[in-house]
Structures are given as C-alpha cells and as structure tokens.
Point group: C2
Chain length 298, copies 2
Amino acid sequence: MNSSAAYLRLCDALMENSPALLATDQLLRDTLTLSSGNPGKLIRARLVLAAADAHGLEEGPAERLACAVEYFHIASLLLDDLPCMDDAWTRRGRPCAHKLYGESSAILGALAFINRAYALTGFVFASHPAEIRLQATACLDACLGPAGLVGGQAADLSFAQSDRSAREVAMIAARKTGSLFWLAVYFPALLGAPSQKELHALKALCVYWGLAYQAADDLQDALLNAFESGKTAGRDRALTRPNLAHAIGVPATQARIARLMEQSRRVVERLGATSQRWGYLGGFHREFVEPMVCAVAA
Amino acid sequence: MNSSAAYLRLCDALMENSPALLATDQLLRDTLTLSSGNPGKLIRARLVLAAADAHGLEEGPAERLACAVEYFHIASLLLDDLPCMDDAWTRRGRPCAHKLYGESSAILGALAFINRAYALTGFVFASHPAEIRLQATACLDACLGPAGLVGGQAADLSFAQSDRSAREVAMIAARKTGSLFWLAVYFPALLGAPSQKELHALKALCVYWGLAYQAADDLQDALLNAFESGKTAGRDRALTRPNLAHAIGVPATQARIARLMEQSRRVVERLGATSQRWGYLGGFHREFVEPMVCAVAA
C-alpha cells in the first residue's frame, strides 16, 4: 500500500473508532471531533499500521491498533497544551482544544481517548497468546506511567529546578518522545513474537528514533516561528523547558541528530538481515524519519 | 475475613501497587503518595475484593483488581477537584492534591493511576478465557468513556445549560456514580462467568446502588457542612451542579433513597437464591450500603 493510501485509510479509521461517536455532551463531542479530525503526519499510527500489516493482522484490527497508539498521542497533546502544562495556544495550525472548548473538555477529551485506546488494544490482543498479551500490558504500563510519558512530562515541568544538563534533557526526551516511539515500534512488533535478539534491536531503534525526533523538535522550537511549525514556537526558552539546542548549541544538536540517524539506519539494516518481516522499518526510515528529521537539522 | 482486616489489607495493597513507587519527580510522587495513602471508606475496593475472593481469585490478583478499581476512582477524584471542574479545596479532610502540588501534578497523577489500573487489570485477566476478557474490556470501555464516567462529568459541568430536571440529574448520577458501581460490582462479577439472568440482576443492582449512593451524596452536599462531610460542601448549588435534593426537595429525595434501598435488597436476595457465591453482595448491602446511605437519608 502506498503512503497516501495508508494516510487516508488512517484518517477514516481515526473518525470511525473515535469516542466522539458516543459523546452526547456538545463540548466534549466537539473536542473529540476536532482532535481526531485534524491529524498531523500520523508518523506513529503509520508505523503501527505497517507493523500490524507485516505481522499478519487483518485490516480492521490493524487499523484499530494504529488508532489506539494515535489516541494515546492525541491525549498527550491535549494535556501538554493546557495552561498548567505548556500553555500553548495553537496546535497543528488551529487554536488548541482548551482555547475553543475549555480546559475541562480538553481533560475529559484526553481521558476519553486514553480509555478508547486501551479498549481497542484489549480487543485487538484478545485472541493472542497470554505471553504476548502480558508483554503488551507491561509495555503500555512502562511507556505511559511514571517511568514513561507521565514521568517525562512531570520532569519536563520541573526542568527549571534541575541542573538543566544535556543528560537531563536526554532523559526527559527518552521518556516523553521516546515512550511514544516504543508504542509505535516495540508495542506492535510484539505481534510478530520477536526473538530476544530482535527485541534488543527494536529497543535500540526506539531510543535512536525517539532521541532524533525530539532533538529535531527542539531545533524547530529554537529556530522556527509559529507560522512555520504550526504550533506555538519558542516556548521552550520562554518556559525554561528542556531543549537540546539550548543545552549544547545548534551545531552540536545537528551533529547529534546525524549520528542518531546513522545509528538507527544500521539497526534497521541489521533487523532487515534477520527476517524480511522487518522490511517495513527500513522503508519507514528512508521515507519518513530521515526526510523529516533532516529537513530541520540540515 | 472481617471488615477491618479487609480494610487494612487494602490499605497496604494500595501502597504496594501504587505508581508512586516508580515516580522520580518529587511533585508527582507526593501527589501519588497522598492520593493512595489517604483512602476513604474503600467501598468499591472492598466490593471488588469480596467478589474476587468469592469467585476464586488468589490473594495477590484479588488485591490487584481491587486496587485497579480504586485507582480509577482516585483518578476521577483528582480530576473532579480541579479548578476547571468542581474547584474543590479539600478532599477527605485534607487540602486537595492540586492545592498542595499544583494542577499539572494532579492531572499527571490521575493519568498515572489510570494507566496503573489498566495494567493491573490486564495482568489479572491475562489467564482468563478470551470471552471473559472481551466482556471485561467492553465493561471498562462503557464505564469509563463518553457513555460512562467521562460523559457524566461532562454533562455535570454543562448542567447549568440543561433543563435541570430530575431526569437529567438521574442520567448524570447514573453515568458518574453509577459507572464506578458497575466497575465495583459488575466488572469483578465477570470472573464468576455469570448466567444471562445473573448478569441482568447484577446490572439492576448497579443502577439501584449507584443512584442511592449519589442521592445520599446530594443530600449530604445540600445539608451538611464541610467539617462533617470531609470535602468541600454546598458546591452543587454554588456551581449549579446537578443535585437531586435541589431538583425534587429533601423529603422526596429521602423517599427515593428508601425505595432504591428496598429494590436493591430484593435483587440481592434474588441473586443469593440462585447461588451461594453471590452471598457477599447481601453481606455488603447490610454492612455498608444501608448504614451509609441511611445515615444521611434518615
């Protein structure tokens, strides 16, 4: 399937599986419709879809799993944008949900997406062996809890009180952005019952891609304006948030991104050599990760 | 097991399974520790524990399932108390988490509890047949999403713009308070693979108990002061929130509670007659629900 067909398929699936269909409250429904109907690049959802297709899931369950990971991501954006978090005004070129429909609707909308994501995951994994289900549960627990996304966001908000070192920045990036790559790469790969060696390589890939992606995002925040980035830019410095370009400078950030890209390319090649079923990771690296990261890092 | 032993066992389990153990951020850890270390009456967790014991779960998994439902409940309290929701200052006789540690910590704390609750549920149900797991997933989806807790809270906040009828009040109570009774009664009962007739009776019991409990809570808010109730009282009228005692008056509310208690007593008896394993529901009705509801409704 070509890339724009997959994108359109995902846009439809995000509306079809949305919790908006069950919402009777107007503000909640509008929040959910806005959030699932205004997708970004869908990097993570496309990765999950490619993985699910490669590992033999049928069309419906594959889309539902991709929606689940995207809903976790949407929920994190709704909450990150709140006044008590990053206090953002725009997201994907439009006013943030909390600006349009109120903070309570943004919070409840995030909960509705998280809940739906867990339900979709439960339904998709229901017929898989207990061992795979336990691994998937442990993966969600690690990625979304205090050791993952929630902990990363908390450390992000406390960053001004930390030593503001490059190490602290990397730790936060690993938990915040890295966790969502674990959900997009490691989590659906469990469907393919990978060997220990393959699991090891997948973990490394999540780390490299996640760090490169966050570093590119930091560069973008440091260099571009809101019009170009589609979201409230320059916030990291204004709010004393972790930003690699502020911590080590622009040239060193660009060099680090190049190194992470090289490391991930090598992992992708190594995985491709073990089995054809990991071919989608190589395609993804060339088609999306490299162009996206390099566009801002060049 | 007597009631105070079960209570102490649950207090320990709530700390042992808490996401606080994984939190490195001070504010997040303090929020989680405060919330799981200052339990209320643990009505729902005790119901789950009794059900899990009755349906043959071992000690550890039984406690973990009880913690899961209590964590869902704690998360809903953390979020309900926020300034953009009910704007409460005290909870269980202490300052609310957002007053002590900030709104972002309260929100992230709620997410950590929800995530942990789903993980515990996934681990506990992992070895059960697919049919029971699918029912459990569907139950969580219905109870926690826009048709349940999230939708109830949204309707609660929009109540001032509704017709403010007793019907609207009952709909909101069913979604907000009712959903948590479904999690405490219907959800763990799935472990016992109930018949269609038993499922029907369990659903009715959730409705009756949920409505009676919410009506008693409404009466408490309308009649008592903050010192007596342990939380910010009189908020319903101040914020134009749904309150049965405001909608139909105090005597009619008391009469409705008495009727709901009679209806639930009959369902509990009917269930007890079908099988001994539902005996815990009768014990619970006599020991907790009646005294608690009647104390305020008398």
